[in-house]
Symmetry: C2
Subunit: 237 residues, 2 copies
Amino acid sequence: MFENEGVGIEPEAAEPKRRAGAKAERTRALIRDTALASFRERGYDDTTLRLIAQEAGVSLGNAYYYFPTKNHLVQELYAEVQREHRAAATELLAGSDELVDRLGIVYRTGLATLEPFHAFAPGFLTAAISPRSPLNPLAEDSAEARELAVGLFRDAVAGARHSLPDDLARSLPEVFWLAYLLLALFWAYDRSPGRERTLRLLDGGLRLLGLALPLARLPLLRRPLRELVELVAAVRA
Amino acid sequence: MFENEGVGIEPEAAEPKRRAGAKAERTRALIRDTALASFRERGYDDTTLRLIAQEAGVSLGNAYYYFPTKNHLVQELYAEVQREHRAAATELLAGSDELVDRLGIVYRTGLATLEPFHAFAPGFLTAAISPRSPLNPLAEDSAEARELAVGLFRDAVAGARHSLPDDLARSLPEVFWLAYLLLALFWAYDRSPGRERTLRLLDGGLRLLGLALPLARLPLLRRPLRELVELVAAVRA
DNA sequence: CTTCATTTTCGAACATGTTCAAAACATACG
DNA sequence: CGTATGTTTTGAACATGTTCGAAAATGAAG
C-alpha cells in the first residue's frame, strides 16, 4: 500500500504472459512470511492477526482472504519445520544401519529442530491438540506434513537391517511417529535445563526398545503386540 | 436480580450469627452450579460466561469476582468428575486382588465416568492441555484433584498381591495415572462406535502388562526400566 | 441512626479471532 | 474505449474471555 505499487524496477512489462494471480501469490507469500517470522519471534499467542496484517502492510480482512484461520498460518510453519527436520535427519541417516541408532537420529534431530520454539510450546500445543484443528498432526489438513514425517520413520526402518516380522515392520513407522508426538508432548512440558530430562527419556526409551524388540518374536507376545500396534497405528483425528 | 431479593421465606433473621460471607457463598455456589450444568449440557465452547451469568441471574463481572477465569470453573467440573470416578471405582475394587484386574477396574470406571463428555472432548482437551492452564491435570492448581486420582491408582497397587520391587511399586501409581491421561487422550480422538477402539486398546494394554510385569524383575531390564519410570513419574506442568 | 470501611455487584470497555458486504482493481470482450 | 465479470482488498461489525472503576449492599463502630 505504501510500498511500490507496480511502478517498480521489476521487469513486469517485460513479462506480459505472467499468469493471472501472480500478484495474488506475492501477497499470499508476503502474509505467510510475515506470519512465520512473527511466530518464530513472538510465538503463537503474541502473534495477532492484526499485527501480521500491519507488518505485512495489508488489511486484516485481506489476511483472512488467503488463510481461513490463524491456525492455517501456523500450518505453514509446521510444514517448514518438517522440511528442516527431514533435511537434518536424512543427512545423518546415511551413516548407520542399526534400527535403534537410526531411530535415535530421527528423534534427536526432531527435538533439535523444535528447540527454538520451546518457549512458545504451550501456545502451539494448545492450538494443535484439538482433533478439530487443521493444525493437528493427525488431522486431514495435515496429511501432507504428516506423510513427510512418517516417511522419515519409514526410511529409518527400511534402511535398517533387522529381523522383525513383516506385519509389524509395516505398522511400526506410524507407531514410531506417534511416539515422537508423545515425546514432543513430554518435551513441551519439560522445564529441565537444556531439556535434559527429555533427552534422558529418549535415551532410556531407545535402550529399552533395543532390549525389547527381540522379544517381539516370541510367539506369546507377538499376537497381542501386533494388535496393539495396529490399533495405535490407526489413530486419526 | 429478578428473583427473591432477600425478602424470602428463608429463616434468615432466625440465624443472626450466620457468619459473614454466607450470602457470598450462596452466590458462588449458584454460579458454580449453573456453570457445571451448562458444561454438561453444552460442553466447553458453547458455554459462554455471559450465558452462565445470565442463567444464574448475575452480572458478567460478578462471575469473575468469584472465578478468575473460565477454566477455573471447568476445574470445579473436573473435581466433581473425579469424585464420581472414585466412588465408582472403590466399590468394585473390593472384589479383586489381582493387580491387572484392579487396574482394569480403575481404567474402565474412569472411561465410563468420562463418557457423557465425549462429544465435548475436543473443547475440554484444548482447555486442559496447556501447561499454563489451571485445568491441566499436571498443574499446581489441580494438585487436589490429582491427588485424588493418583490415590486411586495407589489403592489399586496397594491392594494387590504382587511381587514387584519396592522402588518400582512406589513410582508405579503415578505412571499408571499418566497412562490413564494418555488413554483419555486416545479416547478423545476415538471416533469408533461405543469407543470400541479405546476399550480394545485398554484390554490389549492390560494383557501385555500382565505378560510384561514379571519381566521387570530380570536384572537386565530392571535398571533401565526403573530410570524410565522415575523420569516419567515426575512429569509436572 | 450515622459514618465509614469492606465486600459484592454491575456495566462499560478492551483485545482478539472471525465474518461480511461493499469498494477497488484487473481482465476479457464488444 | 466502455462495460461486464471475476478477483482482491478493505473496514466495519460481532462474539467471547477478561479487566476495571465505580456504584450498591453489608456490617461494624460510635
